[in-house]
Structure formats: C-alpha cells, structure tokens
Amino acid sequence: MVAKVFSAEARERALRLLRSRGITSVSKVLRGFDEKAVEAAKRLGLDSALNQASYVQVNEEIVKTLMERRLRDLGVIVAPLGEALEKHSWLQEYYWRALPVDNDVYTALVEVYGEGKGYLVYVPPGVKVPQPIYVCLLVTASGETQLLHNIIVLGDGAEATIITGCGASHGAGRVAHIGATETYLGKRASLNYVMIHSWTRGSEVRPRTAIILEEGARYTEYYMSYGGVGILESRVVARQEKGSRLYSASVILAEEETNYTLDTRALLLGEESSAELVSRIIGKEDSKAVNRVAIEAWAPRTRGHIECQALPLGDRAVVETVPVLRSYARGAELSHEAAIGKLNEDELAYLMARGLDEEQARAILLRGFIHVDIPGLPAPIKRLISSVEKTLAEKHAL
C-alpha cells in the first residue's frame, strides 16, 4: 500500500528513483522476501503481509503515560511522525531536508510505503529535558517490514538524551527494519543519542541517518548492536557547523552469518568543529563486518580523530576497517588509529593468576574491549550501557 502524501515534491522524487530501479513494491528490494518466500506466503495466505509496512512500539503507552505530562509542560513533543506532520506545519521545513528522500531506494521506500510511521522528538529552544526519552521499536512477527521515518529537532540551546531500543523478538523469522532518521540540532543544542539494537538471524536492517549540527551544537552517539542479523547496513552522515562537536561510538558484536556494513561520515563544514569516531567490532563464527569511517575537513582549525579496533574471534569471521581522512582546508588536524588484534595472552594469564578460569578471564577482557568511555553521558545511561556490556562479554567469552 502506498502511504499518504505529506510532501508532493518528496513523493515525486522518491517515486522517480524507485521507478528508475523498476521497484513497484516493498518486497522486491528486501533480501528475505524472494520469490520462494512470496510463494510460500501465498500458500499460507499471508502474501499481503509481505508488502505491509508496519512497526510495533513496545511499552509505548507506559512511556507516554510516565513522561507525557512533564514533557508536555516543557513543550516537548514525542509523537508518531504522520500525526505530527498533520498537526505541525513547521515540521515540513525538516521533512527530508538533512536526508534526501532519493538518497537511495531505502529512503524512497520509507517515503512511498512508510505510511508516516516513525517518530518525532521535538525539544523547544533552551529546554533541558531532565529525563531520558525512550523509544522502543520491535518487530515481532515473521514477514514484517518496518519502514520508519524519524525526525529529531532540538532548538537552540536545548538539551536531551534519547535512548532507542530496536530489535526483533525471538522466533520473529524474516523481518526487515528500514529506518530513516533526520536529526537537527540548533545552535549550542546538545543531544545524547543511545541506540541499542538486537536483531535475529532473519533480520534485514538498513538504518539511514543524517545529522545537522548548527554552530556550537554537541552530538554524542552510542550505538551497540549484537546478536545474529542477516544484513545490517548502516549509513550515517553528519554535517557540522562552526564550533560543533560530534562524538560517535559504535560497538558491534557480529555473530552467526551476520553481514554488517557500517558507513559513517562526519563533514566538518564550519571552523573549529570537531569529530571523534570510535568503533569496536567483535567478529565471531561466520560473520562479516565492514566498517568504513570517514572524516572530511572543509574548514580551517577543524579537528577529527578516528579510532577503529576489531577483534576477530574464530577462524571464519571476517572484519575489515577502513578509516578515511580527507582535508579540503588548511590547518585541519585529522588523525586515526586502526587495529585488528586478538586477546592478549599476558592479560589472560594475569587474570587467571587472580583465580579466574579462562572463560571468566576472557569475559573481563572482552568487556574491557567493548567498553568505550563516552564523555558527557549521564551516569544512569553509563550504568545501563555497562550492564549490557557485562552481559554480552559473559555470553561471548567462549
């Protein structure tokens, strides 16, 4: 089903791209819904579900009930995007601006078939949201295709922390999650954005993210993804104006036959803007993880640093890291460090001399490896991340 039109121009551009690729329905581009799957679904009478785009927000009501009044009093809006577009005409200004609708077939699919699903988070200028805003997006049924368009707007001087949990439930089978997220940070606005993904082996996940940081804005992102996933292909681009700061940490635990491709770019457009992109990747079993990270300096006195570390555990896992530094301006300072290694035997021995067996010792080293100390994150969020790190390290120790 083709979704309601919120912008005629965006719809036309999206359709033009899809037609040029011969795409007339969602299922054609998704790996899981090949002819055999469609045929099987038809036999079961579920073929219409293959073309259906939907999403489930777990605990939506509870979160809203707990936060709604306090948020509303502050002028904060957390709402489904479709509803918000109908209600707030100013939102058109942000609709597919940071992320072009014809960026690729996936953004076009979100526009044409997304039905306005996804969320808006809006924080008025100067408002400092005291508690984290939680968003949870789950796919629970086999054959579901989740098409999301999310817009986050923080006015000048606003501050917020957003935590998103996305994943498929156990036994969800073949599912797809395509999320287009546009983030706009006004002057001196500050956003902590924590994203935790846990998918299943039948999942196809294609996040597309664009962030615009106005003068003096600060964006701190922590992304963790674990569990088997069919394909996870993430593309992130940040455009940074004068004096803005971006810090991004990605922690990936690739296992089973997972195929990860991460593509992150920070464009330092304004003077004295800076970006630090940090990644930790653990590859297990038959997984393949490709991590491309780039910082481009377009203005003087900009600074950028890339740190990529990968740890293949197992003989068949493939990890590839590609740090790219590009300068178009005089006086830019860019650096990178990239390493693929193994657990240090001396460190293992040290921990075993403490009385820990090999599994316990490996768990501690893995936890240390995936830990990234993120500046400026609120303590409760750090504790949440630490708890996830501990659980994962213990699970993956052997």
């Binding site: 460190e347 009385g355 820990l356 240390g368 990234v372």
Partner: protein, 240 residues
C-alpha cells in the same frame, strides 16, 4: 607451615634461571627476597604461580603440604597463592571493579573491600580503567586485587617499584596488616628505604639474598643487612 619450596629449579623460556632454592614462608610471616637484577627473583615468583613461560623443572612447591607443581595457574590461585605483579598489564577498558566482581562470584562478598580500599587510598580508582592509572595508583590497586583473592600466601613482586613515597607508606601499612592477620608474604624488593620501613615495623621474619639463581645468604633481617653492609655488598644485593 604454609608455603614451602624444596630444592626448586626454574626455567624461563627454556633457560635455567633458578637453581636449588629452598625456602619456607609461614603464616603471619614476611620473608624478603632480594638480589641484583637478573638474579632470578621475579622468575621464581612467576614459576611458583605457574605463569606461562616459567616452569619449575625440579624440586617441589608445597602449599599447606599439598604439591602445587602440577596445578594450573588459576588452580594455584584458588588454593590460596596470590601474585602481585611487578608490572601489571594495562588491559584497556578493564576496571578493578570488573575483576572484583568476578572474584566475588568465586569467593562470595568480601567484607574487607571498603576498608582495604580506604587504607590503600584507592576507593575512587575502582571504576577507572586500570590502564589510565598512574604507576603508584596501579601498584596500590594491584595489592587490593591480590588481597581480594583471599590468599593464604602473597607473592609480591616489587610492590614498591615506581611508587611515590606516600604510596610506599600505604603499601607498607597494608602489608603489615596482612601479615598480622595471618597471611604469609614472600616479597621481592630492590629499595633500601622500603626494606628498612618493613624491618623497622618488626614484621620481616627473614631476608634471603639471591644471586645468579641461588640463595647465597639468608637469616634474621638485621643480621643479614649487617653482613651485607660489612662485606660492602648492600648494593650488589639489590639495595638501592
């Protein structure tokens, strides 16, 4: 009797480094092992603990009368042997808290944690990555981690090296308390100041001087120090 070494020979990476050492460390006793660089002191402690690359090739190591020679590294630790490393690894991202939590799973809650952490001045360091600590901080945390194993015998390999004067005092305090609480300690040191500090506290039961893998001199601490002084060997024996 707690730890006993009977005519122990050690190889490090296949090379003989210790030849025929016999030594006893009783409960509530501090034995000091000193000697020049390369004498084999650290190799001996590493072999006693069972670290990779170090092997007791002859002789017996007994803990409470039970032979340790054939036990794995962590089995020795769980029997009650604790090694404080001279240069602990940096271990990126790992905090003392992570290790303490893992040890708690083995031994149950450690009621003395806060007290020892306070004594060592490391209460605020437990959640920091070990690799970010200064030399002195790391050495104090190292001692805390050894104690967290609830050892019967601590093997402390130069706990004083690279440590500032204030940290030395804190480390000496905790070593003293450990000895008084019944732990046996075999301690390697190079620095005269730290050795005299320990001797002055009356907690050193014996000093053993190792040269070229052999213990050449051992006995009551003041007597050994006097002999070294008389023979002009204080420096040669490792006293800095």
């Amino acid at each position: 009797m707690v730890l006993e070494l009977r005519n122990v020979f050690v190889e490090a990476s296949g090379r003989p480094v210790v030849r025929g050492v016999s030594l006893r460390v009783e409960s509530s006793e501090l034995q000091v092992l000193m000697g020049p660089n390369g004498a084999g002191k650290s190799s001996l402690l590493s072999a006693l603990m069972g670290l990779p690359g170090y092997r007791v090739v002859k002789g017996e190591v007994l803990l409470d009368g039970q032979r340790l020679n054939d036990l794995t590294l962590y089995e020795r630790a769980r029997r009650g042997l604790g090694l404080g490393f001279q240069t602990p690894p940096r271990m990126k991202g790992v905090t003392a808290r992570c290790i303490l939590e893992a040890l708690e799973k083995i031994h149950g809650p450690w009621r003395d944690l806060r007290r020892y952490a306070r004594l060592l001045g490391v209460e605020d360091l437990l959640d920091k990555p070990l690799g970010s600590l200064s030399g002195g901080e790391r050495k104090r945390v190292e001692l805390l981690l050894v104690l967290a194993q609830r050892p019967r015998v601590m093997l402390l390999d130069e706990p004083d090296s690279g440590v500032d004067i204030d940290s030395l005092g804190l480390i000496a305090d905790v070593v003293e308390e450990s000895v008084r609480r019944g732990i046996g300690v075999l301690l390697v040191t190079h620095t005269t100041h730290f050795l005299e500090e320990l001797v002055g506290r009356g907690i050193v039961s014996g000093i053993n001087v190792m040269i070229d893998g052999v213990i050449r001199l051992s006995g009551e601490p003041r007597r050994v120090l006097q002999l070294l002084e008389e023979r002009g060997l204080r420096g040669a024996a490792g006293g800095a």
